[in-house]
């Protein structure tokens, strides 16, 4: 951990400088470049004066890479692991109905975190897989629900169309039942059913009737 006590030249530098040094090493900075930077800092000069020692050299840097820098890398891994667990915990708390922005969810997240932190990596991997499956199942269920909703809407639309058709037909019947021409055609015993339909259609709908027949 970064709280470890290092007695080397670099180890005695202020925390912020050691941290920046670690970041520079991680980002691939070369030894000479690092030494120039380190030895140019007034904080480094102060530490070296107190230690009555010469400038930080390549060997000091090599030693630091195998001690402080390695510890720092481990710390970063810990931070990343905890951060990932926090995300999983928050997802679980939210999935259980918690409002993500609410304090209830934050408290639940903390309790789930406690459980996850004491679990081993295999169990956490199992849990993550289960979560992914749960999410996939939820998505599938949502799709089914959406399809059912669409079907219900289509059915409702059909019912409405049918009701409108019945109402319109009834209105037409009332209108044309009062027409002498229509009544004469409908009751003409000399005409067959097809002929009656044809003539009544032409009377009631005019050109539209011809169009309907042609499929226009």
């Amino acid at each position: 951990m970064n709280t470890r006590c290092y007695r080397s030249k670099i180890g005695r530098l202020p925390f912020a400088i050691r941290n920046e040094l670690n970041e520079r090493i991680r980002d691939g900075a070369q030894g000479a470049e690092l030494l120039d930077w380190l030895n140019g800092l007034k904080e480094t000069k102060k530490v070296l004066r107190e230690m009555k020692s010469g400038p930080v050299n390549a060997q000091n840097l090599t030693d630091w890479r195998s001690s402080g820098y390695n510890d720092w890398l481990e710390d970063q891994k810990d931070a990343d692991r905890i951060r990932r667990l926090a995300e999983v915990s928050q997802t679980l708390a939210a999935a259980a109905g918690g409002n993500v922005a609410g304090i209830g969810c934050s408290i639940a997240t903390a309790k789930i975190m406690d459980a996850l932190e004491s679990a081993d990596d295999d169990k956490i991997a199992d849990l993550s897989t289960a979560l992914v499956k749960l999410r996939a199942g939820e998505n599938a269920a949502q799709k089914v629900a959406l399809a059912e909703e669409k079907n219900a809407l289509a059915k409702e639309q059909l019912e409405l169309s049918r009701a409108k058709f019945e109402r319109d037909t009834t209105r037409l019947f009332i209108k044309w039942a009062q027409s002498k021409d229509a009544l004469a055609l409908a009751t003409d015993k000399r005409l067959g059913s097809d002929e009656k339909t044809e003539r009544l259609g032409r009377l009631m709908f005019g050109d539209l009737w011809e169009g309907a027949k042609d499929g226009r």
Partner: protein, 88 residues
């Protein structure tokens, strides 16, 4: 690192998790990152100081009226700047 820094190092990576003072004290002591064990009162004082610095937020758990603490965005920024030291 002092107690305040360690509290930030405990809460930040776990954001948005919110913890009671007792939980924080117990976890810090378990981490063995302090020179000597801390008490709940010491943690409570440190949290209040951090609260004045806007590094943590105090919330009340409606279930049992207990106080829980959560790191703020400011606290996380400070944590990142200080090298993301993490209390495991």
């Amino acid at each position: 690192m002092n107690l305040k820094q360690l509290i930030i190092a405990f809460l930040s990576p776990r954001y948005p998790a919110a913890y009671t003072e007792a939980s924080i004290a117990q976890r810090l002591n378990a981490s063995q990152m302090l020179d000597k064990r801390c008490t709940v009162d010491e943690v409570s004082d440190a949290l209040r100081a951090l609260h004045k610095m806007k590094m943590v937020d105090l919330q009340i758990d409606q279930m049992d009226n207990s106080a829980v603490w959560q790191v703020t965005e400011e606290g996380i920024k400070k944590w990142v700047l200080e090298g993301r030291v993490t209390v495991v």
